[in-house]
Symmetry: C2
Subunit: 567 residues, 2 copies
């Protein structure tokens, strides 16, 4: 089951089907993408050059009806960080991959001519097709053109104009069950890697596929039921996430003093109540129309933390509107207007860029005096410059670090070249330890700690808390699960039970945990070979020296503290 690998060479325009290597049998999602990156990509490879590869993987439950199990992991050497990258997304593509019985798609080579392609995979074959007509079209239009051609039920992973232009904020986006291509493998500039290969889209057409049943059918059914019951009986996964979605985090971080505000200069936002989960919920509710406070981004997800955010007339402005975007394009820019955030979010989605990195870059540009903080209109115009591909737009679309360098700004909230997501590091030191030490660069999905039982402003215990979070999230990433299941997992041994029932194996939770440690250590080793040292495992200087006014604290975990973090 799930033992096919599709290998595509964009230079030679060949597509091969291979058998998954024996050594990779237990790997999926991040554990598989990172392993293939480690095994196949030279650490010195130029990220936009011929030796980088794009590795697309699904998890071991892909294609099944296990809730929240359809994350699509994409790996490569990141053009943004220069290190290894895994970025995963919701949507329906991983589910389709599972139904097509494919564990990984490996895309090799680059093209420097003017020919562009898409990779089409159906039950009979996998092939490349010329796709020049999709060039320079937004992701929503691209998706529509592909639905017209292949039907509405296909899974899609595609890039927008940003990826075609190899911009460092470019992501890869996947469609949701309603056809909206807005589920982003956002971080690390993976869209630029796909663009360098002149691959515009992967079309996953599972029509006629018959998915193999689980090896131990009854056991699997029972374990799925238990897993779902856990999700349905846990307050976060059963009530808070479905009602408020990821935005539920905003009151938590704001009260902690960890809500990034005005280019991460403080952690508490005066306008928080205008952009928090309650306001989001009420706005959607009161506007009605196409709006929805709850929504599944993948087939069969029972958490349904997503939403559809409508305008005053009830017409969809964007779906979803998530916590990270609300922070980075909201509080981080001193903008307390959900409509303004939603409109910028849509532009990001359509152009194909990561809202976190772009939000960080705009914050840095504001610090550099390019436009003022707090001006939603000017921020929107700046986003329009990104979409119009002006030179200023290109700077922003090259991410926070480049924006800082171009405008001579020294306070750039980034680690290893990647902008920070929605957690102010001096106000939430466990997540900050993750920012500093994760092979991924600043990334909340690499190990977030706001719910850890620790005093978030103090240094004590943060290394252990971050390590646990990093290992924990690697476990869900390695199985293609959404990290939102976390609170609904009283005993993670059920994950081994589910795998064993589906595949007829006898893995233990310890086996899975070993896979996670191995994955993190491989990632670290890749980075080490690519030129990363402990000098890169730290936050920007100003976070150690300037207090977060909301907490009165600086970041105070130093090299000697952080070096204790081993996986």
């Amino acid at each position: 089951m799930l033992d096919k690998v599709i290998r595509v060479d964009m230079a030679g325009l060949t597509v091969k089907e291979e058998q998954l290597a024996e050594a990779y049998q237990r790997l999926s999602g991040r554990s598989l993408s990172s392993r293939i990156v480690f095994d196949e990509i030279p650490p010195y490879a130029e990220p936009l050059g011929p030796h980088n590869k794009l590795i697309v993987t699904c998890g071991l439950f892909a294609g099944s009806m296990v809730s929240s199990s359809g994350r699509l992991s994409i790996g490569a050497k990141s053009p943004l960080t220069g290190g290894i990258k895994e970025s995963n997304a919701g949507g329906i593509s991983a589910h389709k991959m599972g139904r097509l019985d494919i564990r990984a798609i490996v895309v090799e080579g680059i093209r420097e001519d003017d020919k562009w392609f898409m990779l089409v995979i159906n039950k009979d074959k996998a092939y490349l097709e010329e796709a020049g007509y999709l060039i320079n079209k937004g992701t929503y239009e691209k998706a529509q053109l592909l639905y017209n051609k292949y039907g509405k039920k296909i899974g899609l992973a595609l890039v927008g104009p940003a990826g075609e232009k190899r911009l460092l904020t470019a992501g890869i986006t996947n469609n949701d069950p309603d056809g909206a291509p807005s589920r982003y493998n956002g971080r690390g500039g993976l869209g630029a890697v796909m663009g360098s290969k002149h691959l515009l889209a992967i079309v996953l057409d599972d029509a006629g596929c018959r998915v193999k049943g689980p090896v131990r059918k009854e056991e699997f059914k029972e374990k799925v039921k238990e897993f779902h019951q856990n999700l349905l009986s846990t307050p976060q996964t059963a009530e808070i996430f479905p009602k408020y979605g990821t935005a539920a985090m905003l009151n938590v971080t704001n009260s902690l003093g960890a809500l990034p505000t005005r280019n991460f200069s403080t952690g508490r936002f005066q306008g928080a109540e205008n952009i928090n989960a309650e306001r989001l919920y009420e706005t959607i509710k009161s506007r009605g129309g196409e709006g929805s406070t709850t929504h599944s981004c993948m087939p069969g997800c029972i958490i349904r933390c997503s939403n559809v955010y409508p305008d005053r007339d009830g017409k969809t402005l964007v779906s979803p509107l998530e916590y990270e975007t609300i922070c980075l394009l909201g509080s981080n820019l001193d903008i307390d207007d959900l409509d303004a955030v939603a409109k910028m979010n849509y532009l990001c989605n359509d152009y194909g860029v990561d809202t976190i990195e772009v939000g960080c870059a705009i914050g840095v540009a504001m610090e550099g005096g390019v436009i003022p903080f707090g001006d939603g209109k000017e921020a929107h115009e700046l986003m329009e410059e990104v979409v119009a591909d002006t030179h200023l737009g290109r700077i922003i679309a090259s991410g926070s670090v480049i924006t800082g360098k171009v405008f001579g700004v020294r306070r750039v909230p980034s680690v290893k070249g990647q902008g920070m997501p929605g957690y102010e590091p001096r106000g939430l030191k466990g997540t900050a330890v993750t920012y500093a030490t994760s092979p991924m660069g600043a990334d909340h999905t690499a190990g977030n700690t706001p719910r850890a039982n620790v005093k978030h402003h103090l240094k004590e215990g943060q290394v252990a808390v971050s390590r646990n979070a990093q290992l924990g999230v690697t476990l869900v990433d390695a199985l293609g699960l959404c990290m939102m299941v976390g609170p609904g997992l009283p005993d993670r041994a059920i994950l081994a039970d589910l795998i064993n029932a589906r595949f007829g194996w006898n893995l233990t939770l310890e086996d899975l945990e070993k896979i996670c440690r191995d994955t993190l250590n491989l990632e670290k080793e890749f980075n080490s070979k690519a030129g990363f040292t402990k000098a890169h495992d730290r936050l920007p200087e100003h976070f150690y020296e300037e207090e977060n006014p909301a907490t009165g604290t600086v970041f105070d975990l130093y090299e000697e503290d952080l070096s204790e973090l081993v996986y």
Copy 2:
């Protein structure tokens, strides 16, 4: 003699005079600037932040009449490379420092307000003076305003608008004996460091200074005479450099296939005869007027490799017009027009940017399709965008690596973030080894090998040749000597003799060579602590894989070869 250190704190606006530390007594120029960088700047310091320092040093012969001994070394942590940087320049400032009996100026702290200063040093005191009226003025106008205020005989080290804006290509420029502020500490973005400190100029007023005589007067006089006679009896230093200047290199590199052409895509330029030394010489000669084929950039230099390049009416277009600029703004852009190069050179000088880095960046922009190769008019307009500080101009003024990232270009000729100078690495592999291994990043002044007795297209012997060149140039850099003296030094022991006679010491050449090895090793160690590894000691990928069409060779010295290079 030369035992004062001026220490300036730009945050507290204090200026102190200190005694040179005992441990630094034998150090000057690069050996002193790099030592102070190593001892005083934390390797993790944000280059534009409060912990970086600007270290200005002269050489042990500064203030004397030893020919070609007035190079000014400036050190810091580079905002361009993130590593240690020493960049030295001609002009009169080091000579003035010598006459003021100052070995080093250490500038600490930054300012983030709107106050700008200059540091004035005369025989009685050193002090900061408000200099807001100089803001946003070109270097030529700034210099004129300072001459108006302090007289025409002052030495100057100053930044242009580029430094004020903290742009990564910003240099620091020094005036020549004719008052032109066009002698650049160009590389590594040191002007941005000076700009971050809100220090616009250092004014060195030596009026009334009486220079201490050499300790062993007769011996010194005799050794100076011998040194000068060597220079005057060596063909390069006596004839070729005075007549043709640095441009004499162009025929050498072009015939080797090592003249950077069209963004380093090849090493031979069809239009070479329109920009070579003979054409330069004849153009200056035939135009007459203010033009001059030979010119001293420092008082008392008998090599006089500089020039004054006039327009058709005999009016100065720029002085000097040097080999590196002719390459990077000429052949590298496929432009075979000296007037076009000279005009861009002037714009660079006035705005305060490094012609090498800007030339590299424009080459990369041409590769990215921003403007076509070979179009002098468009290249000039692009330079005008730099000066006008448009967003496109800012991208170019942020250097080759950022230009490459913003425009999605993978063939960026740089090492450690710094663009390559006028030597194509596959055509001149010794210099390429220097590019790869020097702590300075891609830099011909760190160890150039076109005159080494080796087959430049083959890998054999290049590590030894580069090592010798790196040690050799460190010796002249460590003494404030110009590297153009190299051919006129049949026995380098004379350098120890000169020092001993001036200072009354008993150093041997071996002592000096140990200082050079120590300097290079300290620089490497600083970089290592700052996060550099062997992964950074290499050329961009494409130089290993794509042939230089002029030589049919790729760069083929790998990690195992380069790791043999120890100082």
